[in-house]
Amino acid sequence: MIAQIKAVFPEAVNKDYDGNRLDLTVNKEAVPSVLLYLKDSMGFRHLSHIAYVDWIEQGEFELVYILWSPLDKVKLYVHTRINRENPVIENIDMIWRQANTYEREIREMLGIEFTGLVAPDEFILEDWDDIPPFRKDFDTLEYVNRTFWHRPGREDAQDVRSTISERSGEEIPDFAKKYSR
């Protein structure tokens, strides 16, 4: 089976550390046709996962379609890269129905547009008006400090150790000072 795939896609590579695994990198324009071919003609019937990674240093998003062939017991990773500036890719939920859920999540979490995707706007987030949260330039800490605030009257409870020591008059041991804020 691996030889057969390599005959059709010569650029496919075997990664030795992960058993029955095969990696394939394709252009984003070719994704639907390659996936359809793999499903219909190569026996990769099961779409196991669509993973997404933000490679901000290279200015790209990566999508990884992970397919499984139940008959040949081969796991195939189809990688594709999308420009961060204009993140658009073809929708594939007519090939695998459940891809719709993955694409809804990716649209919300990375801001990638899937042409032709029909799905409700919101998936997990509600009334989100910041940049998509799974982008690497989204700063979780800064967002939390901006969005949430301390309950009034609890300001002194921020450093528990020093508060307790002030109230009780006991010295903080040296080893604990090291970890105090």
Partner: protein, 367 residues
């Protein structure tokens, strides 16, 4: 006269829903005409948090992805890091992992016994099986220190060796459970209420079932012999002798029979594991966790949980922090596209029973 459809909301807080999620149902009379799953009540951004943590800290979050079933998640995390890092696990560590995974499978199915019967108003079964599940949680507590979240399987092996006399206690618990399973059969499978409420209800169409992403007991309940333990053997499953039970009905009843048989198979596996358990090391040390750099690479590993395939995609860019961690749970497909497609035509009263039989777990969807 043409009847008007009414919208009703099942959840997010509802005793019949497994976890916090909502199903928006359009009904005519008490028949469902359309269903839409809404999630977002539990989002904790675990995957985003992982990016700020190091490789060891990430592991403490893993077990929390799905509350009733923590061990498969730990296993995929550990194995994905091992795959990228080229880290070996000693043979004894692998056997202990399989024992823990199978005990977890029994605990999950006992929880399912309770949920499935509770959704039909048969509460005695739940009191029995949750009580018996506690005997397994006692074992986990002795082995790992935690009852529900164990944080036990980490990259390189497991955290502690088996305590003195532990395997005897496991065997005693299994003997007890085996006796109890006969009582369960009498109370549940011989009960005509259970039969009538489950046979022919919640049928998952067999056509294109693999293409639709159906996994685990739901797929086996439709007559397809598919299990990651034999398809892509991990740990030491290739050295163990067990069967993959299947049923043909593809309804709640068929899936119940599959799960019932799986408990028996798990007991069989654990006995073999204890029999074959090698001595020696249980853990290969990893470097100082604060400075542990995992080489650049990615890996997707899968495990057969009690509810089906759990996959985990880890990416390292060669630093002390993971670049990306991404979990695929069985419920991600089952609770959304599958549930939405099989609910139309069903009765409102059966929704909870169908959700339970599909193995819905809301926290796993939102991660």
């Amino acid at each position: 006269m043409r009847e008007k459809a009414t919208t009703i909301y099942l959840g997010p807080q509802h005793p019949g829903i497994t976890g916090n999620m909502m199903v928006r149902l359009k009904v005519i009379g008490d028949t469902i005409v359309s269903a839409q799953t809404e999630v977002g009540y539990l989002h904790r951004a675990f995957e985003k948090l992982q990016e700020r943590r190091n490789w060891l800290q990430g592991f403490t979050l893993m077990c929390r992805f799905c509350v009733p079933e923590s061990d498969p998640m730990e296993n995929v995390y550990a194995r994905s890091v091992e795959a990228i890092d080229g880290r070996e696990v000693p043979e004894r560590g692998k056997y202990i992992r399989v024992m823990v995974l199978e005990l977890a499978r029994i605990a999950t199915q006992l929880m399912w016994y309770a949920g499935q019967n509770g959704s039909l108003g048969l509460y005695t079964m739940g009191q029995w099986s949750i009580g018996d599940r506690d005997y397994i949680l006692d074992l986990f507590e002795e082995l790992t220190g935690g009852r529900v979240y164990h944080m036990y399987q980490w990259p390189g092996g497991v955290r502690r060796d088996l305590p003195e006399g532990f395997t005897d206690k496991v065997l005693r618990t299994l003997d007890y459970l085996e006796k109890r399973l006969k009582d369960y059969d009498d109370l549940m499978f011989a009960n005509s209420i259970f039969q009538k409420r489950t046979q022919g209800v919640g049928i998952v169409p067999k056509e294109n079932i693999i293409e639709h992403g159906v996994v685990g007991p739901v797929l086996r309940g439709a007559g397809i012999r598919s299990d990651i333990r034999i398809d892509e053997p991990y740990e030491v499953y290739d050295k163990l002798d067990f069967e993959i039970p299947t049923q043909e009905g593809s309804d709640i009843w068929a899936r119940a029979l599959v799960r019932r048989a799986e408990v028996h198979q798990s007991i069989r596996i654990i006995r073999q594991v204890i029999d074959q358990m090698p001595s020696g090391e249980y853990f290969n040390k990893f470097p100082n966790p604060l400075k542990w750099i995992v080489p650049a690479g990615d890996a997707y590993v899968r495990v057969e949980s009690g509810r089906g395939e759990v996959g985990f995609y880890a990416v390292s860019d060669g630093t002390i922090h993971p670049r990306r961690m991404h979990l695929r749970g069985a419920a991600y497909v089952h609770a959304i596209t599958l549930l939405e497609s099989i609910l139309p035509g069903q009765n409102i009263a059966d929704v909870s029973a169908i959700m339970n039989s599909l193995g819905t777990c809301a926290p796993e969807i939102e991660r």
